[in-house]
Subunit: 342 residues, 2 copies
């Protein structure tokens, strides 16, 4: 490989001068700069980050640890967000996936240490409580899309499920719906509780009785292999004479099930029934016809702002144990409309 010395020889200057030019330092004679740059071009010299990093012991690499398995497709947007931030700020990104296996997680921490990484973004595919690496590792870390367990101190950046669900509830009630069905998310997810709590609170605050809100459990069991009651529950809920005029689902996958159930019962959406979901999984939310009203998960922003947060942490600008909450915007589409006067 062509090194700084080769360039120096061709340009007829010292290697240090080449270094200066390569780093765009001031105090180099313009003519010299020109000369050196020409040599660089001629030889196709590309600086060696490895050497640069070693000498200055200043890394510009972030590590990403994910726990993806084949579920939760759009959570990959978190990584895109991180990469965009990294690209804009001249950082490089080293990535590893644990498949959720603790052994691979600790291997990864080790590898990242070996590479003298600046900091780590620990990305989970769904919103939950975690406790990364029991064995002490001292690389600065930010949790993305998860909340740290009490034991350790980590900064985190998370979606504001509670607020998003509040907005959705208010919207549905403002549409005039007074009989509302709600099919709950798997309780194993942190979002499940936040979303139903928020929804219940709004219902109460708006003066509706709890009887106007019918809540059913849609899924349960281990993530990725849950039992799914949604179609059945929705069918039952929508078959009664006193059926709800709006059916809210814990997420878009469940909304799809409810949607199918409604169509099979001959209900028109949104004229006869308003359906809404959560997550904005576009394969579903944009795939349905009419498209699905839903609360979007800010995956991309979680990544982008997570990287930003990590950067602030590295510069000592952020206190320990700081948690950021990112808004989950309500996306209104065709599956919801005002309650028809019945």
């Amino acid at each position: 490989m062509v090194s700084i010395k080769d360039v120096a020889k061709v340009a007829g200057v010292s290697d240090k001068t080449v270094s200066r030019v390569a780093n765009k330092e001031s105090n180099v004679h313009p003519e010299t700069v020109e000369k050196v740059n020409e040599a660089i071009r001629k030889l196709g010299y590309v600086p060696n980050m490895t050497a640069r990093m070693m000498r200055s012991s200043r890394s510009t690499t972030f590590g990403i640890i994910t726990d993806y398995v084949s579920t939760t497709p759009y959570s990959g947007d978190i990584v895109r967000g991180i990469q965009d931030w990294a690209n804009e700020n001249k950082k490089t990104v080293l990535m590893a996936n644990t498949n959720g296996e603790p052994e691979r997680e600790s291997e990864t921490w080790r590898t990242f240490q070996e590479h003298r990484i600046q900091g780590v973004l620990f990305v989970t595919m769904y919103h939950r409580i975690i406790d990364p690496m029991p064995n002490a590792v001292q690389i600065p870390t930010v949790l993305v899309n998860s909340h740290p367990s009490k034991k350790r101190k980590y900064r985190s950046i998370e979606p504001d499920d509670y607020r998003g669900s509040t907005d959705l509830a208010k919207y549905v009630i403002q549409l005039g719906h007074r009989k509302i069905g709600y099919i709950r998310l798997n309780p194993a997810l942190l979002g499940a509780e936040l979303r139903i709590d928020a929804f219940r609170k709004v219902v109460r605050d708006c003066g509706l009785s709890q009887a106007d809100l019918t809540v059913k459990l849609g899924m349960e069991g281990p993530i990725g292999n849950e039992t799914n009651w949604v179609h059945q529950e929705a069918t039952e809920m929508l078959s009664g004479a006193n059926r709800p005029t709006a059916l809210v689902c814990g997420n878009d996958e469940m909304a799809l099930q409810a949607y199918l159930a409604a169509l099979r019962l001959g209900l028109r959406i949104p004229e006869d029934l308003t359906i809404a979901g959560f997550d904005d999984f576009r394969l579903i939310s944009l795939g349905l016809k009419p498209q699905l009203t839903t609360v979007a998960l800010p995956y991309y922003d979680l990544g982008y702002k997570g990287a930003e947060l990590l950067n602030r942490v590295l510069r000592g600008e952020t206190p320990e144990e700081k948690h950021e909450n990112l808004p989950c915007p309500l996306v209104i589409r065709g599956s919801s409309s005002t309650a028809s006067p019945s």
Copy 2:
């Protein structure tokens, strides 16, 4: 940071000996190994890859370039496949995403050169023909999920759309269906042609007349912002007296549209109508009820075997311009059944 010299001092040996132990070289006295390892443990020494790489100029890092935008969620599985292979083979993975922007692509090549990466996996989110980086870069590269344009020589690994579609066509015909509808993929996708060509050939080979196969275009326009005719076309196709008993769609997104259209027409699936898709986007294929028969895209394997192929290339074990095709397995689920005797 604690270095090899610190360990040497504590263990009372030379730094080279520590190096030997760290690299598990033979010809070190067992007692010495023990002594050194204890010092390593005591000091928490972690080797510095940066320095190691510099000295031996042997990199163990693969670069991944993706062109993801927010569409095509499951293509992230390609990356998972790569990461799994990398993990199993002690490679590290540097990642960058171009968002499809050429400027970012060339920045990325540059960055990878700076990091003295071993090789690059160029991953596209959908199956298409590409021509990476017009400006010559000499890092060994394997294209994953795309086919090189004629101009340059690249190895590639791609899904066998043709074969997958052939299997699906045979299956549908074996079920006894004689009137078949087919809604085509956006012609901008490489898979579109492969899939319809294969389908047509099987129909011909099985002695059906072309009149028994009704082909409609389902989507067109720029990827990510296409015009969608599927629901409309499906409704039309299924409304006629002489309607098809099986409706095959270019992918699962389109199958969802067809599914909804069928339900709205009061058709039962699969009793009245067999529906099949392509891609196995599980949010849809497992979300529908009954679940969708489809041809799976081997995303994970593309990544895993792509990494494997790159590794072989790096070891000089693979000739130039070699293309691998990976099978797209037919996944039979509830949305398909034998044609009812009408």
